[in-house]
């Protein structure tokens, strides 16, 4: 058997970064062809590093990677899409990092997941172009679908019976909508109105841009967010760092901040989008 190549080149989206030692960082990359993997970039925290600016989370990069004994080593990096407008907006940055953390939690190392890669790339592209939190709901729906947890919205998740046009229970343990007959067996859930159900069904066939074009009122957006977050939680069963962070931002925003002399408005914040 021929020895595997010593290095390879791939396109990847950077999911996260953590520091190692004095000047190195370990990056978690999600590659179209390699799946998710960790790689170290040596000296990347020094000012002279050529790769530094190319290796920010949420950047899509072309990288050259050398196989290492325990950890692969990034030797070259070139930005393919920096997503600068996304990163220059606190809310959209949070949305992007939330999606990246979801991908990190829903994948295992070195398993190719092209559909998921394309979904993340599309979502970041959409956010770069100005997409709202509605696009994040689309992302959650399709992330669940691609990884084998598609929300059951067409028929009853338990008995596959046809669902009448009415308010229906959405149960995370059951994996989606549950008909009246099966309702007593569902462990928990929340009632979704007909509009919310239609929006969820629309997510299956729409593109992310079409879906993001929907204008949802606050109550509807909240219902969808809670329903999908419930499913996500059902799968990973732990709190996401980005969610904890956004909750903290939300709490800080609601506390009256400045109330003195030259200060006019006490609460600086309109609203933070839900994850």
């Amino acid at each position: 058997m021929p020895a595997p190549a010593r290095s390879y080149s791939t396109e990847a989206i950077i999911l996260r970064r953590r520091n190692l030692g004095e000047a190195d960082s370990i990056f978690t990359l999600f590659s179209r062809t390699e799946g998710k993997f960790d790689a170290v970039a040596r000296g990347v925290r020094k000012a002279k590093s050529h790769m530094r600016g190319h290796l920010e989370p949420l950047t899509r990069v072309q990288v050259q990677v050398a196989r290492g004994r325990s950890l692969d080593v990034l030797t070259q990096a070139e930005t393919a899409a920096a997503h600068r407008r996304l990163k220059d907006d606190l809310d959209r940055l949070n949305m992007g990092l939330y999606c990246a953390e979801l991908v990190d939690r829903f994948t295992i190392d070195r398993v190719e997941q092209r559909a998921l890669y394309d979904l993340l790339a599309d979502a970041l592209e959409a956010m770069e172009a100005g997409a709202s939190a509605v696009a994040v709901r689309y992302f959650e729906f399709h992330l669940l679908a691609i990884t084998g947890y598609e929300p059951q919205v067409a028929a009853c998740a338990a008995c596959h019976a046809h669902l009448p046009e009415e308010e229906t229970l959405f149960s995370a343990p059951a994996g989606g909508l549950v008909c009246r007959a099966c309702r007593h067996r569902a462990e928990s859930g929340r009632l979704l109105g007909i509009r919310a159900i239609k929006v969820l069904r629309y997510a299956r066939t729409a593109t992310i841009q079409e879906f993001d074009g929907l204008r949802l009122d606050a109550a509807l957006a909240h219902d969808l967010q809670a329903a999908l977050a419930g499913l996500v939680h059902q799968v990973i069963d732990r709190e996401l760092n980005t969610v904890r962070y956004m909750d903290a931002l939300g709490r800080a925003d609601r506390t009256p901040a400045l109330t003195a002399n030259h200060v006019q408005s006490a609460s600086p914040e309109p609203e933070t989008p839900e994850p």
């Binding site: 920010e56 920096a82 940055l93 953390e101 909750d247 901040a257 006019q264 600086p268």
Partner: protein, 202 residues
């Protein structure tokens, strides 16, 4: 730890203590410990005292949260400094870096950290509240965001802008561009784009 049972216990303890320091591996820790062994008792106790002093005499300035021996710190006490500008930095070491540049005569505010969405570090983990309290006094007119130009530093800058901007305080950000000695060829697009935007007439 490579120290065998034959090594006297005090040396083992010292080696382990050095090993816990950042950037010190087991070999360096050993070398340092045996170096201490060879130095005079005077030198060794001076080192021990210096370590203790740092822990016992250094605290955070009640105003800017920089590390200091006297409270308020020398920056906050200095009447020649401009009290209407405050420069926000991540760490005490950043204060030294800005002071070294010699181009700044305002006050500081040290956050002792930075927002990190990826690790779940939110505003309550850094010293933002204290900044808000300082701004409420009304004397400060400009806030300079001097957090690192990383994703976390930018998130922190945007957050503070959002927090204090509506209150009528001017919020500025350190310029981003090319470092001295840089190669255009290797510069990432974002840095280059910002350098172009921030170009100046010569």
């Amino acid at each position: 730890m490579a120290e065998g049972a034959s090594t006297p216990e005090p040396i083992q303890r010292l080696v382990e203590a050095f090993h816990r320091l950042p950037g010190i591996g087991p070999k360096s820790a050993q070398r340092l410990a045996y170096h201490i062994l060879r130095t005079s008792e005077q030198e060794a106790s001076a080192l021990a005292q210096a370590v203790l002093d740092v822990k016992q005499r250094i605290r955070l300035c009640s105003q800017c949260l920089n590390i200091t021996e006297a409270d308020p710190c020398s920056f906050c006490q200095d009447s020649r400094r401009d009290r209407t500008i405050v420069c926000i930095v991540e760490q005490p070491l950043d204060v030294l870096a800005i002071e070294r540049s010699g181009g700044y005569r305002g006050l500081y505010h040290v956050l002792h950290g930075v927002l990190n969405p990826m690790d779940g570090v939110g505003p309550e983990h850094i010293h933002v509240r204290e900044l808000v309290v300082r701004l409420q006094a009304g004397e400060i007119q400009e806030v300079i965001m001097a957090t690192n130009p990383s994703l976390e530093g930018e998130a922190t800058a945007m957050y503070i802008q959002r927090l204090v901007g509506p209150a009528g305080v001017k919020v500025t950000r350190l310029a981003r561009g090319l470092p001295s000695g840089a190669d255009l060829e290797y510069t990432d697009d974002v840095t280059l784009a910002r350098a172009l935007e921030g170009r100046q007439e010569i």
